[in-house]
């Protein structure tokens, strides 16, 4: 899903395939000479000290994309951004693989840093994705519980 609102180019993708952060960042900056800052955040799948075999991520198709777009729109209201790319994977993900990507581009670094942090905090509490753990001993690690810290992190941007 891609749209340009004002000057800010927004691209949101929800996909099973891995992504390449450097490619996504290059696509956002290609042919532009007005950008002063680009921040690229990649969330990775941890092996939890060797106990995790894989994550299985379930999502709500349609709503996942819509919710990420709405979070991206909120970021544009708060900061003068030139570009936003967000990619979130679903399905089976192995330790070391990327799960989520947020790229923000702006004229100056502060906006890009703050917006990327805001986008991640909001995504974690609003985008409909759920992680299930498959453990290295082949047992079912169950669904990952939502963290109070994540709610608190999203809450700090209010007011």
């Amino acid at each position: 899903m891609t749209l340009a609102s004002g000057r800010c180019h927004v691209s949101v993708r929800v996909q099973a395939e891995p992504f390449e952060a450097s490619t996504e960042a290059r696509n956002l900056t290609q042919g532009r000479t007005d950008l002063g800052a680009i921040v690229t955040f990649t969330g990775l799948c941890r092996d939890e000290g060797g106990t995790l075999e894989a994550l299985e991520i379930e999502h709500y198709p349609g709503m996942a994309e819509a919710e990420i777009l709405s979070v991206a729109e909120e970021a544009q209201v708060r900061w003068p951004l030139e570009g936003i790319t967000i990619v979130h994977r679903f399905g089976r993900i192995l330790p070391g693989e990327p799960i989520v990507l947020v790229v923000t581009a702006s004229a100056h670094r502060t906006e890009a840093f703050e917006a990327a942090s805001f986008l991640m905090d909001y995504l974690k509490t609003r985008a409909p994705f759920w992680k299930r753990q498959h453990l290295a001993d082949h047992s079912d690690g169950g669904w990952v519980a939502a963290k109070h810290q994540d709610d608190a992190a999203a809450e700090k941007w209010k007011g």
Partner: protein, 82 residues
């Protein structure tokens, strides 16, 4: 309306989606959850946690939201993406 269930809500209820036709006096999300909970132990088990979040037509809503015009209503645990 179409009901969708995700993650452990889906597993507890035992299905990913179904058509539901609540009676006319079921007007809010909370009332719909109470009505669903009476359909069987599997629903009771899912909703008794008190943790189930709801979206109407792919937008988050609170439990006091009206369901009148909903075409699709989704029930799911707190989100753990990112």
């Amino acid at each position: 309306m179409k009901a969708l269930y995700f993650a452990w809500v889906r597993e507890k209820i035992g299905k990913a989606e179904e058509e539901i036709s609540p009676p006319g006096d079921v007007m809010t999300v909370a009332e719909l959850i109470a009505w669903l909970s009476h359909r069987g132990d599997e629903y009771q088990d899912a909703f008794a946690t008190g943790m189930v979040r709801v979206a109407i037509d792919r937008a988050h809503v609170k439990h006091d939201a009206m369901i009148a015009r909903a075409a699709e209503i989704a029930f799911f645990p707190p989100m753990t993406g990112g």
